[in-house]
């Protein structure tokens, strides 16, 4: 495999998650302030945890730099990891929302 073997699927994952929401599930997750506040918190902690996993001085996960665009910030985190994490967390929250019990019918 040559080049962008991480970048391409990571971008595809973000696209797929958005397509899942807007095309199929329509949970309204992206309109909920709780989602965006949570994502800010999640990304904050991702930087700590992912930074520990990917730091080049003692990496737990080792990336082939030919498979990424090469941007590693902060703490040597590949930019692609943020797409990977965004899609992972958002997909789980979408499936969680789908099962929301709605005692009060919320604004659609």
């Amino acid at each position: 495999m040559s080049g962008l073997g991480y970048t391409a699927p990571a971008a595809l994952a973000v696209f797929a998650v958005c397509a899942l929401e807007f095309g199929i599930l329509r949970t309204g997750l992206f309109r909920r302030p709780a989602y965006w506040i949570s994502m800010v918190i999640v990304i904050g902690f991702q930087i700590l945890v992912d930074g520990w996993l990917t730091k080049l001085t003692a990496p737990i996960v080792i990336y082939d730099d030919r498979q990424t665009i090469g941007v590693r910030f902060p703490f040597d985190i590949p930019l692609e990891d943020f797409l990977f994490g965004f899609a992972l967390v958002t997909a789980v929250l979408l499936l969680w929302e789908r099962r929301r019990h709605r005692p009060e019918v919320s604004e659609q």
């Binding site: 949570s38 996993l53 003692a58 737990i60 996960v61 997909a91 969680w96």
Partner: protein
């Protein structure tokens, strides 16, 4: 001790987020809903992960993992990652959501007075 690093990181994530369970309707108290939210996503990510490892897109440093491998040549820690991180995200979202609901109710009460 170094070989426990990845597992310890995951344990720390669960430990730090555990108190969030007490806010709102919880996550661990809804095991069926948790399973339904996590397993399909984890399955897709594990397939992606196994392909990436087979294609040498990324690999795991043997210094920091216990060495037990799951199907797809993935370290067991990596498999647990796809359960632990979603749990942390659900706990965060559930806690934020319930805190916002409380705030909204308070504001509504203040307005009515």
């Amino acid at each position: 001790m170094d070989r426990w690093q990845y597992l310890i990181v995951l344990g720390a994530c669960l430990f730090i987020t555990a108190p969030l369970e007490l806010l709102g309707s919880g996550v661990y108290r809804q095991p069926g809903r948790v399973a339904a939210a996590i397993w399909p996503v984890a399955a897709v990510y594990l397939i992606w992960d196994a392909i990436a490892v087979a294609a040498h897109v990324w690999s795991f440093n043997p210094r920091y993992i216990l060495g037990a491998l799951a199907p797809g040549d993935l370290p067991v820690e990596e498999v647990l990652f796809f359960v632990v991180i979603p749990l942390c995200a659900l706990l965060t979202y559930s806690a934020v959501d319930s805190m916002l609901s409380v705030l909204r109710r308070r504001f509504a009460e203040v307005k009515r007075q």
